[in-house]
Every structure is written in structure tokens, then in C-alpha cells.
């Protein structure tokens, strides 16, 4: 539909690494560990996930336990990152906050992924009116800036986790639908699809068993940058008081709580923000690495 070729997806795939003839002959599976970006991303995310999951082993402090005799204490052997204005241990809140944020982000990305993939497959495979209606809907949702719509939706739905899931699903599906539709449009003209069609297989079976496995990799690559965006959305909403509700620990609330003490206790705001940045970096690296791995040939 788009009249100008450039109006499509931004960011064409990054260049594939130069592979020698010998490497190319090997099966693709053997090469994943040679992707520096992918490896670095996996190590970063692996370490963060381990730290977050092993939180009870790494710290003995309850993230919500207040100690009003030790408020805003500096970095010490007892409190590795000091305490906040209510005397809660910052290191403990950092770990448990990561638990909250990452858990919600990883769950939140699944709904739009599934919804967008289904609607995109339908639009691309059947075409015609269904396609027009679904893609018009995509255009409308895309018209709103992501953060404007997320914040407005969570605001009207009422703060909290449930609203975050609803808002992210309602907005996030459009990108997956666009990607999958584009891929299906190309793939459905391939011979194996024609063969399956003439073999009398049902449309659902062709889409699910034959087309989807061939087009899903693009959606998985996009999902990596989508999780980054979702984490940012969750943290931003929490910063505004619309997301995770206190006293539950979360990085956004920590930044917001610490901002009044930024000149005297920099770590309260800086450290949770850095946690978000490093997590985002890890996920972006995985996404880039996957892109190189799953679509070689293009550069």
C-alpha cells in the first residue's frame, strides 16, 4: 500500500558478518557463538537474570522493610548501595525491583506478539477486505506517539499492572502485524505454499505449520527491541506514579523517590537508571546479533 519504498520499517538489517567460504559451509547452528553482539547481550542479560532470580541469596534485607533509624545512609559494608529516605536497603530494592520490572516486561511482550502475529498472518494471507481493515487499524494506532497513548490509556484504565498489560497489548500488536504481514505477502507466493494449497490443506494449517515457522524470526528480532520499549514504558509509568504501586520495589519508583536527594545521595537515582540502561543494552545487543544470525546474506 505504501507508495514510497522508504516509508516501510526503519532500520534495515545491519550488515552480516563477513563469512569465509569454510564458515558458510557449516550449518548455521554452529555459528551462533561467533556473534560478538549476541554473546555480549546474552552474557549481560544472563547475569542480570541470575542476580534478579537469586535476589534472596544475594541480600538478606527485605526490600520493603523500613528502618527509620538508618535513613539515607551512605554506601557501607552493611548497605552496599546505602539506604533510601525510609531506611530501605537500596541494593535489595534494586534486585527485587528488577524482578518486578523484568517479569512484567517479559510477560507484557507476549500478548502483543501473539495478537500481532495472528492478525498480521490473517491480513497477509487472505488479503482483500480483511487486510484493508486490519491495516487501517494499524495506521490509526501508529498515529499516536507510543508514550502518549500508553500513558493516556493506563491513566484512564487506572494505575497498576493490569492496565500496563492492557495498554501495551492494545498498542504493541501493530508492529508485529506489520512485520508478519509483509513477510507473509512474500512467503505465500513460494512454491511450498502453493504445493500445500493444491494438496488441499486447510488455510489454518498452512498458516500455522508452513508459513509461520518461516516468517516468525523477524517478529522475534523485533520482540527484543520491543521488550526494551516495554521496560522503558513500565519504568516511565512507575516514575509518574501510574505503574507499579508502592511499596512494591521497582526501578521507576526508585528513580522518582531518589530525585529529591540527587545532589546529596546520587546513587539513589543513578543506580536504578543504570540498571535500566544496561538491561536495554543487553536486549538490544541480542536483537542485533539475532538479526545478523537469522538474516545473513542481506547487508
Amino acid at each position: 500500500m505504501s507508495a514510497i519504498s522508504i516509508t516501510g520499517q526503519t532500520g534495515p538489517p545491519e550488515s552480516a558478518p563477513e563469512a569465509t567460504a569454510g564458515e558458510r559451509a557449516q550449518p548455521r547452528r554452529a555459528r551462533w557463538y561467533r556473534q560478538p553482539a549476541l554473546m555480549a547481550g546474552l552474557v549481560i542479560i544472563g547475569l542480570i537474570l541470575m542476580a534478579v532470580i537469586a535476589a534472596p541469596l544475594l541480600t538478606s534485607y527485605n526490600p520493603d522493610a523500613q528502618n527509620l533509624n538508618a535513613t539515607l545512609s551512605g554506601i557501607s559494608a552493611q548497605h552496599w548501595l546505602g539506604t533510601d529516605q525510609l531506611g530501605r536497603d537500596t541494593f535489595s530494592r534494586l534486585l527485587y525491583g528488577g524482578r518486578t520490572d523484568l517479569q512484567i516486561a517479559f510477560i507484557a511482550v507476549l500478548f502483543p506478539f501473539c495478537l500481532g502475529t495472528i492478525l498480521g498472518s490473517i491480513a497477509g494471507y487472505f488479503g482483500g477486505w480483511v487486510d484493508i481493515i486490519i491495516m487501517r487499524l494499524v495506521d490509526i494506532v501508529v498515529a499516536f506517539p507510543f508514550f502518549v497513548l500508553v500513558i493516556a490509556l493506563v491513566f484512564v484504565l487506572g494505575p497498576g499492572e493490569r492496565s500496563i498489560y492492557i495498554a501495551i497489548t492494545l498498542i504493541g500488536w501493530v508492529s508485529y502485524a506489520r512485520i508478519i504481514r509483509g513477510e507473509i505477502l512474500v512467503a505465500k507466493r513460494q512454491e511450498y505454499v502453493l504445493a500445500a494449497q493444491s494438496g488441499g490443506l486447510s488455510n489454518v494449517r498452512i498458516m500455522g505449520r508452513h508459513l509461520l515457522p518461516n516468517v516468525i524470526s523477524q517478529a522475534i528480532i523485533y520482540a527484543m527491541s520491543d521488550i526494551v520499549q516495554d521496560i522503558l514504558a513500565i519504568v516511565t509509568l512507575s516514575y509518574l506514579g501510574l505503574g507499579i504501586q508502592p511499596p512494591a520495589p521497582d526501578w521507576g519508583t526508585m528513580i522518582s523517590d531518589g530525585q529529591n536527594f540527587l545532589t546529596t545521595h546520587w546513587q539513589l537515582t543513578t543506580i536504578p537508571g543504570l540498571a535500566v540502561v544496561v538491561t536495554g543494552l543487553g536486549l538490544s545487543l541480542i536483537g542485533d546479533g539475532l538479526a545478523d544470525l537469522l538474516r545473513p546474506g542481506q547487508s
Binding site: 507508495a3 490509526i140 498515529a143 509518574l240 521507576g252 537515582t269 540502561v277 536486549l283
Partner: protein
Amino acid sequence: MGRMTFVIRRLLLLVPTAVGVTIIAFFMIHLIPGNPAQTILGIHATPRGITILDRQWGLNRPLASQYWLFMDRLVHGNLGQSLFYGVPVGGLITSHLPPTLWLICYAAVIAIVISVPLAMIAASRKDGIRDHIVRAVPLLGLGMPAFWLALILQTTLAVKFQLFPVSGYGTGIGGHLHSMFLPALVVAIALCPVVIRSLRASMLNVLGADYITTARAKGVPGLRLFVRHVLRNAVIPAVTVLGINIGFLIGGTLIVEAVFAIPGLGNLMINSIFDRDFPVVQGVALVFGIMVVLVNLLTDVAYATLDPRVRFDR
């Protein structure tokens, strides 16, 4: 397909999208759990207040007729009444629009100024060390919460070193440029990864073209080649990328405006959320949606007009 036909076609496609945007903005009020009027008024809800609000928004009518009322008011420039300020939402939006437009343009310029040299460095040595660094570092910006970076820059550069005003919008063009440098920088940093990525790709594309080989064979020196031949042809796609990502740009200004207390639309929206001022939130979201639709249209048309090579295929 001719150029005129393309523009007209594009304008016609705009209509359903614009109508859709108004429908979404309209439905926002209906997503409020329970009785919207009751929820909006909160603890101040009196039966009389609820009746007034119900009548003002036509909440007691059927949905289709409510939407009709909403559209009828909208085309007359009436976006409703702010619950907190007690003035028309339309006037609030017009008075908060200039700082936001300033910030958006300023951030776009900074993003271009940062991205072009970096993309040139990356593209000139494809797959070299510099290329890898230029590709990896902006990834930091992708996952960076804008409000966090804004807080850090505000505390260090504005409060501690007093290089920039801590907040506000400044007066006069010089004042605007000075006061809004940090906010614009924060928005630009979030935008850079996207711009660098596509600029680098389009530069690599241009570098592979025959006329570059010709220029090289003629002995045009490296920098001159880049500025005169590559940059010229790579900048149009970059501007287009900015146009396409206008939504992203606007989303970035939202919270940055709140942190730096710039009296723009984003700040208005965030404050209205704290004041539970639903009509203002609805109005600002609508204006942002329409803004994106218009900028996307302008981008497409400008691109088609500027670049004679664009094909008008279906």
C-alpha cells in the same frame, strides 16, 4: 501515477486515519472503569456535579450520538472544558503548543548534527573497529529512560556547574536556544540510534553507486567525496526517517518537558494526569495524534517532491 494523483491519493488515505484517531480519543473517556463522571469527579462527586458532567459530555445518550456530539464540537474547535483550570481545553492547547514545537525542531536539529558525522565515520570504514563502536554505543541511548537522563543532566550541568538554566523555556530566540539545550539534547539522544542506523545504511547504499566509483577514479579526495557526493544523497532519507519517527520524537518530549518545567503540551498532559483532568489529557492525545498524521503526510509529499527518483508505484 503522476505526482498530483499521488498527493491526492495520500490525502484521501488520511481521512480514515484521522477519523480513527478521533474515535480512539473519544473512547478514552469510556475506558474509565465504572461511571466515568463519578470516577472523574472522585471524592468531590455530588449528584449535581455528575448530572452536569453527564449532560456536558452527553454521557446519558447512545454511543453513536455521543461521538456525533464530540465531532460536532471538535470541528467547531471546542475540545471541552478543563476540569482543573475551568477554561476551554482548546485555548490551553494553543498556548502550550509553541514550546513543544520549539523543542521538537531543536531536538531534530541536534539529532542530525550528532548523527551525520557518526554515520559518516561508520560508513567510511564498514565493519571496522570504528563502525562497530558507532553501531554499539547508540544502543545505550535506546534503552535509556529519558526522564532519568534529564534528571542527571539537570543536576550536573545545570545545578552543579550552572552552565544552563535549571528549568523553563527562556525568552527570545537566544533564551529558548539556551534554556532548551539540555531538554532537546535528551530527546535527541533517544532519537540518534534510529537516525544513525538508517543514515549509515543509506550512505553505504550511496557509496556503492557508480557515480561514487567515477568520482573516486577521478581522484576526488575522501572528505570532499563524502560531503559533496555521499552526504547530499544520504540526507534526504535521514530527514524522512525523522518525519517517520515524529511520534517517537513527540513521545520523548512528554516527560522531558515535565522534568525541565517547559510549559509545553507534554508538561500540560503530565500535570493534567496528576490533576485527573480527563478532558485535557484527551485533547492533548488527540492533538498529538493529528500532528503525527500531518507530519507523516508532509514527509511523504516532501520526499516525493524533493527526490526526482521516487517512483509512484502502488
